[in-house]
Symmetry: C2
DNA sequence: GTTCTTATTGAGAACGATAATCAACAAACT
DNA sequence: AGTTTGTTGATTATCGTTCTCAATAAGAAC
């Protein structure tokens, strides 16, 4: 099975952190790499076809998060979804379906992103808060629920 | 205890929905009205001083949400926080502390909000998704965690 | 390759946040 | 006052997630 460029980067990062890229973990990051939005543990359990037990998925997700390979996303009640970290996938935003809860990535034009960053900077200067990142979430109905 | 303007609006809305504004519910919305950001059930339980049992708080929050008086906010792992709905408090955004998880409201200048809406509109036209609302979340360190 | 060390796995129990249940109760309507 | 219907408090159940621990696999050393 050929290693993608993404997987090489991940493998490298994990080595640095003394974390092994086992087959279960590889399956997980591969699945996240193919997804068009953040995925929950049970999403992964389903799409992976239960070849990795749920408890291992949860544990691997925690490990991968600590290693900075994936990042969590909270947008619906009770579930945490994960996606490959920004340094792997690039900065992007999300469409969140208010009906089914599914989350989809969106790219936004560079100039708009620049505007957005300017807005965040402006706000950061006005409040006692040190901004690290920002997230623009668009809530609405996805194509399936519409 | 004098009724604020906000409470009159809430009372009215609840009447329309055939939902009673009992003392427990009044305590909850009052507490949310004073907060400077969304609050979880256990936040409320603490700040209210356990005069309303936790199970009632959860139930009341569900009822108030269904009635459109409050809206949920998901920004940290596992907990749902609630705030008075937009039609009561006005549109605003959030600062989310990546350390302690606390969420704080921010007002943003009208012209910036206009820009933001333009951005959301632009995106909405490009994707198969019907936007209803948007949320700009700024993640960083709050004054206490900084 | 065999051995040694240490991280990782799988299965199940345990946990925390939230929801559901149900008998006791209170508010509005007659 | 009596009836109807919504609400409460206490408890139990549920669901997502984390923990535990014995069994195992991955790298490192020989």
């Amino acid at each position: 099975m050929p290693e993608t460029n993404l997987e090489k980067q991940i493998a490298h990062r994990l080595q640095e952190k003394d974390v092994r890229l086992t087959s279960g973990r590889r399956t997980i990051v591969r699945s996240l790499g193919l997804a068009d939005g953040p995925r929950s543990a049970s999403d992964l359990y389903t799409s992976i076809g239960s070849s990795v037990p749920l408890s291992s998925i949860y544990r691997s997700l925690a490990v991968l998060e600590r290693a900075g390979v994936i990042s969590p996303h909270y947008s619906t009640k009770g579930v945490t979804r994960y996606e490959l970290a920004e340094w792997l996938m690039g900065h992007h935003h999300h469409l969140v379906c208010i009906d089914c809860g599914q989350v989809e990535d969106i790219e936004i034009a560079a100039e708009i992103e620049t505007q957005l960053e300017a807005i965040v900077d402006t706000i950061g200067k006005e409040v006692a808060f040190a901004p690290r990142d920002h997230a623009l979430e668009i809530e609405g109905l996805c194509s399936r629920c519409n």
